[in-house]
Amino acid sequence: MNGRNWIAAAALLVALPGVLRDVSVYFWKAGPLVSTSADDRFAGLSLPDERSGFFTDAVGGWADRRYYEAAYALAPRVLLPRADLRLVVADVERPASIERLCAERRLHVVKRASPGVALLEKD
């Protein structure tokens, strides 16, 4: 082997753990191959052309994630992370949070996409 081939062999040794790491990620994902999209969670909700609010009972980074997933799924409508607008999209961990929010803010459910996801409107 010449010098270049030795360098190439060393590069192969260095690249191998990286490729094996990539392969290992496949085995971390449990279960069958199922497609998961934010669009599915918000399917069926449609917003008019106005600013709408967003509510979640999740905290910290999970609240941010749910908010941006809702903004992504419902784009180009602009969602704001507050619940004092005429229309509010709720995406909650505990479905009871929707009923509590409705009672507190005088909202009612317009449409439910799933037990934890709904479009709410001011009474």
Binding site: I7, V14, L33, V78
Partner: protein, 442 residues
């Protein structure tokens, strides 16, 4: 319409690369990378300036490609970058075990990309919160740009430039529907064409064995697959920057400027990288070369300036940075930021062993290294990234946790290229004359 968009991107990119002196497989692979970038830039220019969302940008690109082809047909043969007939490595062959290893790695990485993209078609967090969200807004409300660039969604970074969202939205308009296939295909094309461009760029100057080794090193970097399947802009920027560095290294400054301008129009960091490449060109090749590069970058930089002045709110990091605070906080952060860089060096992008390997190559061959434009640019760029974390108004530890690996990855393909060029000897078979360029002799 999607066929027209794809044809325009490919023809436009390859024609620009050939006009810049590139030939052979490198021109094809790098042309695909540049063509995608040009397509995103021109479409978003049409939208921002004229409110156009149709195939006009594709037709313009095809006409431009035809005009460039007509202007440069048959010329510059003796100067061509990476041309087969002038390349004394064209007769050399890579060992079969290396070809097999590279093909297997490419196959595994592609299969994993497709599996993950089927499982999570929306991509990762930044794709959902920034790039694809912006693309959806452009597609859904192209004539309400005030809503698209609203600063009511701060995590969306409304000041980020439009190359990637524009490219994705263009794909959706061309198809007539909003499908996850477009951002997935864009990510796959940038990754595949970029890896191929790296391999061919190194092959053209240092032979097929090192070309394959360079591609293998990139494929074996976990961050490469991670950023590809997460549909992040960092991978697109990394590939465009690689092409700009290769062109600048070959003395093709106008082409390098155009592609560096596309980098600036991809992410805010791209503007810094464009400026540093310009500085490296100025220092190594002089004023005339720098002016040539600046002229090449003029169109994307002008569009970026228009976007920033007319539509984008101020960048949050810049607007919160005060010079007085900088002087106070920078000295106390040197160790913390150095520690963050050290951690990336040891474990780049999780399980990445390549940086220590690259560093070892530099140490072992320090005395025989060639002083190249690309290595000067990378030294400047790594220094600039270090300075960003010294200066940030945020907690540098937290910011490094979420961004340092991506910022370093933006430079990674160029680091691999520069390492191969600067450290491996360009020794030709007996009697062959090595190719030369103004920027990187031999």
């Amino acid at each position: 319409m999607i066929a027209l968009a794809a044809l325009a991107a490919l023809a436009g990119g390859i024609t620009v690369l050939r006009a810049a002196g590139a030939r052979g497989p490198f021109a094809l692979a790098a042309g695909a990378v540049v063509g995608l970038g040009l397509s995103g830039m021109l479409w978003s220019a049409g939208l921002l300036l004229l409110g156009a969302t149709g195939a006009g940008s594709d037709l313009m690109m095809l006409l431009g490609a035809a005009a460039i082809w007509w202007r440069f047909r048959g010329g510059r043969d003796e100067e061509e970058l990476g041309e087969e007939k002038n390349n004394f490595f064209s007769a050399a062959r890579a060992p079969p075990w290396l070809v097999a290893a590279c093909a297997l790695a490419a196959l595994v990485v592609t299969a994993l990309f497709l599996e993950h993209s089927l499982r999570y078609p929306d991509g990762g967090w930044d794709a959902v919160a920034i790039w694809n969200l912006r693309a959806r807004a452009l597609f859904g409300a192209p004539h309400r740009l005030a809503d698209v660039f609203t600063n009511e969604l701060p995590r969306q970074h409304p000041d980020y430039p439009l190359l990637l969202p524009g490219l994705i939205a263009h794909g959706w308009f061309a198809l007539g529907t909003r499908t996850a296939l477009v951002p997935i295909a864009v990510s796959l094309l940038f990754a595949a064409a970029g890896a191929a461009a790296l391999g061919f760029a190194v092959r053209d100057r240092r032979g097929p064995a090192l070309g394959l080794a360079a591609a293998l090193l990139l494929l074996g970097t976990p961050q490469f697959l991670l950023l590809a399947w997460n549909q992040y802009a960092d991978l697109k920027l990394a590939m465009l920057l690689l092409v700009a560095v290769v062109l600048a290294s070959g003395g093709r400054f106008f082409g390098a400027g155009l592609v560096a301008g596309l980098c600036a129009y991809t992410k805010n960091e791209g503007l810094l990288e464009c400026a540093l490449l310009l500085l490296a060109v100025l220092l190594v090749s002089g004023c005339r070369a720098a002016v040539e590069m600046l002229l090449g970058a003029a169109l994307p930089l002008a569009l970026l300036a228009y976007f920033k002045v007319r539509w984008a709110p101020p960048n949050d990091l810049v607007s919160r940075t005060v010079v007085g605070d900088l002087v106070r906080r920078v000295p106390g952060r040197v160790f913390v930021v150095g520690h963050g860089f050290g951690a990336q060096f040891i474990d780049f992008g999780t399980w990445g062993l390549a940086p220590p390997f690259v560093a070892l190559c530099w140490i072992a061959r320090w005395r025989r290294r060639k002083r190249t434009l690309s290595s000067l640019f990378l030294a400047l760029a790594i220094g600039a990234v270090f300075a960003i974390y010294l200066a940030t108004p945020n907690d540098p530890v937290e910011q490094m946790k979420t961004s340092l690996d991506r910022l370093l990855f933006q430079l990674w393909p160029s680091i691999i290229y520069s390492t191969a060029i600067a450290l491996a000897p360009a020794a030709a078979p007996a009697g062959a004359a090595p190719p030369r360029s103004a920027a990187d002799p031999a």
